[in-house]
Symmetry: C2
Subunit: 158 residues, 2 copies
């Protein structure tokens, strides 16, 4: 994504947050704004720790309690998605990003995004009785090409 697009989606996210807060008589605090900006500084998936580190680099200290509550809120606002593809929770910005899926290497833990139009199409056509869907998550677990090569080099033990 180019810089202009990133900037405008960042603006959209700030507007969404502001509207959300106003509607609930909650407050626009420097911490919430800084966390939101930090998120737009990060490419791809991140954990709470990633955000914390990024903010510390900028000499803007925010407590873990605030980080957790803010990320919860951002999920509710619809600015980030929360993922669970490992023991630690991960997040990803969903404003200004294309819909995509994830493939996870069981060997090295690496997560790659991938797009697949057939999947998107199938998703759109899915209807569910007695359930109001908000969002979909699709994961493929397996072995990435790097780990495959590494394993093939070794004598086949398994």
């Amino acid at each position: 994504m180019d810089d202009d697009k990133l900037k405008s989606s960042q603006q959209i996210a700030h507007d969404m947050l502001r509207d959300y807060l106003h509607a609930r008589r909650l407050r626009v605090t420097p911490e919430r704004c800084a966390i939101l900006d930090a998120i737009f500084d990060i490419e791809g998936h991140f954990t709470i720790e990633t955000v914390s580190n990024r903010l510390e680099e900028q000499r803007f200290h925010v407590s873990m309690a605030t980080l957790y509550s803010s990320l919860d809120m951002f999920v509710d606002v619809g600015i980030v998605n929360r993922y669970y593809f490992g023991s630690t929770v991960r997040y990803e910005r969903c404003i200004g990003t294309e819909p995509h899926f994830h493939r996870i290497c069981k060997e090295c833990g690496q997560v790659q995004d991938f797009r697949n139009d057939r999947w998107l199409h199938t998703m759109e056509q899915t209807t569910l009785r007695g359930f109001k869907p908000d969002y979909y998550q699709f994961y493929i677990y397996g072995t990435c090409s790097k780990c495959l090569r590494r394993k093939n080099k070794k004598t086949v033990k398994k």
Copy 2:
């Protein structure tokens, strides 16, 4: 599933485990067998705690360390799947069960299984370059019918 089918898939799982262990010169211990049997006593998803409780009921004490290492192994053998649809890790037997997906209610946390042939078909036709897939996981997050009704009764706050 009827009892005969359950029993035969339990036998298959025991055979898989035994072969896995023998191939690696690892040992068939009473703990591993008991854990495996406990898993076949459980219907649907479970956590490590569920397994522990089930074993305690049967007066068969197994330490958490052993439970964690055994479940890791069973995932590797291909007897159970590991799921992450919330902050705690869940498992599900995958021997003697039909392939299916999960929908998760964001309100009450309930997880429902569902089958969808269109999805299965799409999965089977998916090919991936540079990645060897082992298994797929597909989640739909949203609101279940019970929680929808409950929310509609209240004055709409959000």
